[in-house]
Symmetry: C2
Subunit: 318 residues, 2 copies
């Protein structure tokens, strides 16, 4: 019996699944972050090893496990130098036997970015488009020939349109413009004041600049905009509609690049933005289907680590 | 003979002018930064003391100088707690005699933010509006009764519409959208590549996130957008027009709040954004005058420290 490993490595955690050749998950393990650009190679290796160990331990297998293929989908990995670094990591992994018998040929090692594994996991096969809108945003597609197209993913300073970060920033900007008298009144002013315990909306300055909040803390304020929009606030709904417009535009660009206007196609949405109460998912789907009638917008069928497992499995079946 | 001091304290330097009761500048001195929220009280006191010392030394006065009034216009100062801190600073200043004979009554100490002294210096008297668009942006007005209105000034994360920072960010965002295929072609792509020595525009990521650039370094890229706009680039001109629209909106909000639509009024523009080659100043003036026909848009007549001097002088003449 032989198995593959699918690994999803990100900034907050690492997930590993142990999969058999019938696509069944026999074990699943989690560990700490594995974005080596921030935490370094050694800590990343540690996290990946722990996630693999936990996945293998979770499987009800008493013998040594043969691993035929591995796929690592890591956030921020894309450039040639990144891939070389991760190849080095995979070599290190193989020195550690645990209960694993590594039988990897070079063709059975897949290193890719986290968008591809989210696409493959989300849809269940490697053709379609993933529209990721969490703290950041990116749209990534892959066609039947394996051609890929990425739009966005430029980060919170240069891009990330439609992300939770950008929605939160737009919400605070609108609240302050309303306070200035530049914008019509909006419940966002009270929304931010209440949520953050501010005496006046001017104290946003204190919160955002002096507490040295990071991107994640700011992105976590997006639900205030979502809630206001769900409650009918006009200004908040304009922000949500702008986010939808940006995500539709980015998705359309991917369709135009590697599919065609009448392609039968699945588009999977991943990330916290889609779980809002203000029907952002429905708005996005309606707007996209209007332009591309054969597109089906879905929520993820499986998690990204499962997608990594499928990509690893694929290398054993060619 | 008695004199006043006008002090302009900011994040990069401190300027002091020594002024007589005929509004003549007898001496001018510069020193290091004095934004106490970043550099601390001790270093701020040091900078202000040096600037005063340099101004007094530059004046051709051999005797001790009587100082009747002082005005400190400091960036980031506005809240009550800030003013208390600066009052403490002024007390410390008076312990240091140098060649100064301090004869200050409490009414002769003016502590205000940098927008007010820019307004008073820029126009030459304390009624009108200042539209500051440098690294950041703020619009600030004061009417004949001394009523003030501020719009904007919320900083690079929450606001600063029309600032050099926002123009630079919009330029990079548009270049990356064009590269993605989401936006029409623009010379901004080559503009940023050439200026920053990038092989591909994707390397903006490297520059902006990994070199850990600050707000000032990013704002310094605004001239790339200005140059492209001056050369006729459509995308760059949309960015400049958006900036103009935001600055006109903010200025209109101040006019509506404390003046009226037919007020005879001077609006002074300060900051690096206005010195571009793409006629941003003319675009702003044309758009504003169309809405408010009796408004006159000018460049600064005097520097902010001079404005501080005028405000100090005013306290001695009441």
């Amino acid at each position: 019996m032989s198995y593959v490993l699918g690994i999803d490595g990100g900034g907050s955690k690492t997930v590993c699944v142990l999969m058999d050749d019938l696509r069944q998950v026999l074990g699943r393990g989690e560990a700490g972050p594995s974005n080596y650009q921030s935490i370094g190679i050694e800590a990343t290796l540690q996290s990946i090893q722990s996630a693999i160990h936990n996945a293998v331990e979770a499987a009800i297998i008493t013998n040594t496990v043969n691993i035929d293929a591995i796929c690592l989908g890591l956030s921020g990995v894309g450039r040639v130098t990144d891939i070389e670094v991760v190849k080095g990591l995979v070599k290190e992994l193989q020195n550690n036997k645990l209960r694993i018998n590594w039988v990897l040929k070079p063709a059975n090692i897949v290193i890719c970015n986290d968008a591809l594994i989210a696409l493959v996991g989300g849809i269940g096969h490697p053709v379609g488009i993933v529209v990721a809108a969490g703290t950041g945003s990116i749209v990534f597609g892959r066609d039947h020939e394996g051609q890929t197209k990425r739009v966005g993913g430029w980060g919170y300073i240069l891009g990330d349109e439609g992300s939770a970060y950008k929605i939160a920033i737009a919400g605070m900007n609108a609240a302050l413009k309303s306070y200035d008298g530049r914008e019509i009144p909006t419940s966002l002013v009270d929304g931010f004041k209440q949520h953050l315990g501010l005496e006046t909306i001017e104290d946003l300055i204190e919160v955002i600049y002096r507490r040295e909040w990071g991107v994640k803390q700011i992105a976590a304020l997006a639900p205030i905009v979502d809630f206001a929009a769900a409650s009918g606030d006009i200004v908040a709904n304009i922000i949500i509609d702008d986010a939808v417009k940006e995500l539709v535009k980015a998705t359309s660009t991917v369709i135009d690049a590697i599919f065609s206007a009448d392609s039968v196609l699945e588009v999977v949405t991943t990330g916290g933005v889609w779980r809002g109460r203000c029907n952002i998912h429905e708005r996005f789907a309606a707007s996209l289907v209007k332009k591309f009638p054969n597109v089906n917008v879905i929520f993820p069928r499986y998690e990204p680590a499962y997608g990594a497992g499928l990509l690893a499995l694929q290398t054993t079946q060619n």
